[in-house]
């Protein structure tokens, strides 16, 4: 059994020491924010550096991750699914973490940081609601008042998570944009507005590896527990590294956390799966966007020729976002990672297969990773000349999606 790293936030090897001092991952990243937020971000950057150097902080984080959040999470060999797809498939089970997704890794770490920095309140945005639930839970545990902004479209389609946030005592604020029901992008717009009105007393607990420096770095460091544990667990189990690491990408936090510890393992392919939506409307930022600036960072972006950000669509609220973390843009342009998109229909199909063959109900976001892995098997097998070994991050569980699944697939009763 792999134990927890005693220093959950550890410095990466020098050659991968990104971002640079200006928060750049190659050409991407940076800090594109109004002046009001700059001093707050500088404070956060200093506070984070001090926290990571503090044995006391690291010990508190280890304790919370172990005793409360349920780390380390299991690594599961998916025998039947692997046989069906012609690969050796291993699942990193973030769906088993407390509150049901990888989001808790980041929420716990940043909530402890907020406490350390003396924040009077925490604000957060959420898409599918997993980050909102994780933040609400972490704030409940630490006794910090919490407000979560969620697009009103997402409040409706991820209703169980909205109820959980309120049970944890968070104030949930549904966000419309221009009179229309909002999604994650509108929630981030609103959370930033809240933060800008009280940058000193409020801690903005950003949920993905996006936004201005130092957020992409903080979130990546906290999520890197996924890849570090999985790497050690797979080596324990097989003595081998995976041929490919596969994860879904919305903002990209579970993917960057999965990829990062493998970046130096050149023989390990890194594959991010984006939301192809219904084919016409989508959230496939890296595969179909071009660089631009949104929400404080320079990264791939879905925007028109006038620089206006486009509406996105995905069956999965967590992938319904026009931007992406800047480190993914760097990994794409440097050729270290590959990205492809799968449609709503492919994701729904893969989700049912995972349910039937493995007894695991993945989140709709996670279902995209499964659909992408299924599609990638042939290429990997051709390239390697043998059965590929795939590590897939099962980023979250799908209980929250039962309503959408019923709408898309029926109750299961009718088809019998």
């Amino acid at each position: 059994m792999t134990s927890l790293d005693p220093n959950p936030i550890s410095a990466p090897p020098q050659e991968h020491a990104r971002p640079d001092a200006r928060g750049r991952f190659g050409a991407f990243g940076g800090r594109y924010v109004p002046e009001t937020l700059v001093p707050a971000l500088e404070r956060l950057e200093r506070g984070y550096a001090e926290a990571t150097a503090s044995a006391e902080f690291q010990a508190a984080l280890v304790r919370e991750l172990r005793q409360w959040a349920g780390r380390p999470t299991a690594l599961t060999r998916a025998e039947r699914l692997g046989t069906a797809w012609g690969c050796e498939l291993w699942l990193k089970r973030e769906d088993l973490a407390h509150t049901g997704a990888h989001k808790i890794n980041n929420a716990v770490g940043q909530a402890l940081l907020a406490q350390r920095l003396g924040a009077k309140r925490v604000v957060a945005e959420t898409g599918a609601g997993q980050h909102g639930v994780a933040t609400a839970a972490a704030c409940a545990r630490l006794g910090i008042p919490c407000r979560v902004y969620q697009g009103s479209l997402d409040v409706a389609r991820q209703a169980p998570n909205a109820r959980r946030m309120r049970l944890f005592g968070a104030e949930l604020v549904p966000v419309d944009i221009n009179g229309q029901p909002g999604t994650l992008r509108a929630a981030i717009d609103e959370a930033l507005r809240d933060w800008v009105s009280d940058p000193d007393g409020t801690y903005y607990l950003l949920g993905s590896a996006v936004g201005p420096h130092p957020y992409p770095r903080i979130v990546r460091d906290l999520q890197a527990a996924i890849g570090r544990e999985a790497r050690a667990q797979l080596l324990d189990a097989t003595g081998q590294l995976p041929d490919a690491v596969v994860a879904c990408v919305g903002g990209g936090s579970n993917a960057i956390g999965s990829f990062h510890p493998f970046v130096g393992d050149r023989e390990v392919a890194l594959l991010g799966i984006e939301a192809g939506g219904d084919g016409r409307r989508h959230g496939a930022t890296l595969t179909r966007g071009r660089p631009g600036v949104l929400h404080g960072t320079l990264s791939y972006l879905l925007h028109d020729e006038d620089g206006q950000v486009l509406e996105t669509h995905s069956v999965s609220a967590g992938l319904d976002y026009p931007g992406v973390g800047p480190e993914h843009s760097f990994l794409k342009d440097s050729g270290r990672a590959d990205y492809l998109s799968v449609t709503d229909a492919e994701a729904l199909d893969a989700l049912q297969e995972v349910c039937r063959l493995e007894g695991i109900l993945p989140a709709l976001e996670t279902a995209h990773a499964f659909a992408g892995a299924r599609r990638a098997v042939t290429d990997l097998r051709d390239r390697l000349g043998r059965t590929p070994r795939i590590l897939l991050t099962c980023s979250g569980r799908g209980d929250k999606d039962l309503g959408i699944l019923e709408d898309c697939l029926g109750t299961g009763e009718a088809t019998r």
Binding site: E35, T36, P39, V196, G296, G307, Q308
Partner: protein
Amino acid sequence: MTRPTTLTPAEAVSRAIRTPRHAGAPAVVAFLTGGFPDLDTFVEHAVAVSQVADVLEVGVPFRDPMADGVTIQRASHTALDRGASLARILERLRARRGELGCPLLLMSYLNPLLARGLERLHDEAFACGIHGFIVPDLCLEEAEEQVARCREAGLAFVQLAAPATPDARLARLCDASSGFVYAVTMNGTTGGAHAPADPLPHLRRVKRHAGALPVCAGFGISTADDIAGLQGVVDGAIVGSALIRAIEAGQDPADFVRALRPAASRQETSR
């Protein structure tokens, strides 16, 4: 004004603030959302307002305006829904350039400017009567190249100074600014109703650091009384959301700007 032809656009902005139409009152920088309520009406408003304001600020509508409150966001969405874009706004301004009665600044979030191409924009600026830029999400650290390029071209690049800005940073920020320094009166977004109990200490602090460069206060300034209260503290006031609300309510924007002047001088609108 002895040799006006030698003034750079940035200097023309500074001069317009320092020697406003109404001596003895703070200069008025009037903000209009480009393409609001529609492109034709907007450009008429721009020409009319430029006859009474000291500087005209035209905002490029953006769907995700991080530093703006609900009023400007609403106006931006309306403008975009009715076909506004940076290209079309520039086109209208270019056509009416000769009729503008005061220096013009273009306010935009970075992404529409990047999409147009920064180099191309600088060439276009002169043709459109644009004297400089305000880019609220391009903070000092990311702005170096822009600052240098504007300085070379003589265009203004206005930096924003927030109450949270520490003194050392404020000094660097004032050094990098041209045209004027935009002193944000409070933490929050434009149009905010909750002005701080007393913004004056912060404004005085900005004024001290700005040296010869004029200072204009913005965010939450909406009435003639607000502006009168800035007399002797800063050189000008920026009025945005209140002007947009007036347009929404069917008021004539030039009349609204005229009414922001001290009562005694409202008739003398020629420079």
